[in-house]
Amino acid sequence: MTAASPSASSGTVRVNKHKPDWRGWKFMWPFAVVFVLVFIIPIVYAIYISFFEKRMVGGTVFVGVDNYIRLFGDDQFWASCGRVALFTIVQVPIMLFLSAVMALCIDSMKLHGAKFFRISTFLPYAVPAVVSTMIWGFMYGAKYGLVGSLNDLLGTSLDVLSPSVLLASIGNIVTWEFVGYNMLIFYSSLSTIPHSLYEAASIDGASEWQIVKSIKIPELKGSLAITVIFSIIGSFQLFNEPNILQNMVPGNAITTYYTPNMYAYNLSFSGNQSNYAAAMAIVMAVITMAIAYAVQLNSMKEQMK
């Protein structure tokens, strides 16, 4: 630091170096206080109550790690985990691929009306999950939805809400909701590439495809880590779409334990088993963090290469 205050001799500079500078807390404390209240304390509280159990007789008693042991033997929990894992493996790559392609197209400056494409891809992000799930749910309906009209027209009997394809139909809703958001993150990182780089590459005789391959796609990899992590967290938390669709789907295709989050929600709010639900929330958080961390490590390794 060359911009020392005028009065500072070498002695006071050293003193200043050792004296902690607390000024930042003047701005940091409101966030920190609320953060502790709505993040830290609930996490600690969840860990605490996960060691107890509410009993019909005898009230709430300390049971140690019983809730966790029960969780590891809970087939419904693992079935729901498997479901969101499958969902993540299929839906996230499709969505991110579409987002990246769309970002590359818009950034290529080869589209007529690129601005229109940017805003129309992003617009679904402004729609609440409740509304987008309801619109798609109405359209999916075999009775008076678009699928029903299509069936009348073609004489088929498609049913996108039948149990075997339901997860894919939910995947379509989630993709529709978030493809634009991810596109925008990709697009933002592409727009930071200086144009002089493209000019230099073209003078050197690089084809457009080579520019995409050697300049743009490596740039996308940086933001890929962020989008992958956010998407994984999002799909492991899958709740809104299946929960809202539940009543629009015929029969019991969406069970109360369709996703881990729905399971935890139903356990604590209709099953009155909040201690067990707390244990579940903690295990889910640990699994999600482990996966996010592994993905981050992987992508960092890739960038080091």
Partner: protein, 332 residues
């Protein structure tokens, strides 16, 4: 006489010159056009055009249009069906208008149904957005500014905890949050919706990156040398520089709060405190309850009214969220 002839001669000469000049100019333009066409042909052959202004590709535009149709047609469906009566909704083709144009009737019914509770939900949502998202933006601005411009004790810990908290599923937090708020007697009050909305780790991240780039440290030093206090420096020097980042951050916090479904679902039991999302879902479920009448036309029209404010905000503030996000993307 001589002067007149001279004048006429001069005029003729001038005209001739003008004609020649026009001809030369035409010739030159023809040459330029020819060169440009040749250049375009050459570019088409080598697969590369002027980087600053490449050829527009019709094929690519058509392919992207298919994708745009995918993104936009649920909006079209919503618009069309908001004009239908309940009877038309269940009996006519989904992508075309019904027998009667019922949009105004639907809007009036949405706002008068069940003693006008939809208006109440709308005002609740605005309350949660103004206080919750507004507060979240303010906390994110101040926190991000502190992280970017001060080296205070505990800064690294704050950073680590916040990065870690982003990967904790928000819904996993909600159950313990509910239990805690229930102990404090805050559930079923607006506070249970507002307080958790005040924290936006993504907003903090955006404001941190943005402050680092938009506020030069030298400027802060200068203000301090001039004797301005930290808060005066913040409000008079830094805040104006942060404006585009603030618009971006508030847009994201507003969307998060306006669209929040899970938090109010668990926190609020009293329909008088519902935001639009929970209210609409309750209306939708009315068709499934015993003896309930299906009011899908109201659900659809209510959905349309719910998304209009955000869609308008996105369209009007395009310039800001673009530049704000671009700034956020610089740092990886």
């Amino acid at each position: 006489m001589t002067s007149a002839t001279n004048h006429r001669l001069a005029m003729q000469e001038l005209k001739a010159q003008e004609k020649a000049a026009r001809k030369a100019e035409k010739e030159r333009q023809r040459r330029v056009a020819r060169d440009e066409a040749a250049e375009r042909r050459r570019a088409a052959k080598s697969g590369f055009a002027n980087v600053a202004n490449p050829r527009r590709s019709t094929l690519m535009t058509v392919l992207c249009s298919l994708f745009a149709i995918y993104c936009l047609f649920p909006f079209v469906y919503l618009l069309i069906n908001a004009t239908k009566s309940q009877a038309d909704f269940t009996s006519t083709f989904g992508l075309w208008f019904g027998g009667e144009f019922n949009l105004w009737d639907n809007i009036v019914t949405v706002f008068t149904y069940q003693d006008g509770i939809f208006g109440r939900w709308f005002l609740n949502t605005i309350l949660y957005v103004v206080v919750g998202a507004g507060g979240a933006t303010l906390l994110a601005i101040m926190g991000g500014y502190a992280l970017a411009k001060f080296r205070f004790p505990g800064r690294k810990a704050v950073f680590a905890v916040i990065i870690g908290s982003i990967s904790v599923p928000g819904t996993a937090l909600a159950v313990p949050q509910f239990l805690l708020f229930a102990q404090l007697g805050l559930t079923n009050t607006p506070w249970s919706m507002i307080i958790p909305s005040l924290i936006s780790p993504f907003g903090l991240y955006l404001m941190w990156i943005f402050s680092e780039q938009a506020v030069p440290t030298e400027l802060l030093e200068a203000a301090r040398v001039d004797g301005a206090g930290e808060f005066r420096t913040f409000f008079q020097v830094s805040l104006p520089l942060l404006a585009p980042g603030i618009v971006t951050t508030s847009l994201f916090t507003i969307v998060a709060t306006w669209n929040n479904y899970f938090l109010p679902l668990i926190m609020l039991k009293d329909a008088d405190w519902y935001p639009l999302t929970i209210g609409l879902n309750q209306w939708k479920d009315q068709a499934n309850t015993a003896g309930g009448t299906a009011i899908q036309n109201l659900v659809i029209t209510g959905s349309l009214i719910t998304i209009i404010p955000l869609v308008i905000a996105f369209l009007l503030l395009q310039k800001y969220w673009q530049s704000g996000l671009a700034a956020g993307a610089v740092k990886e």
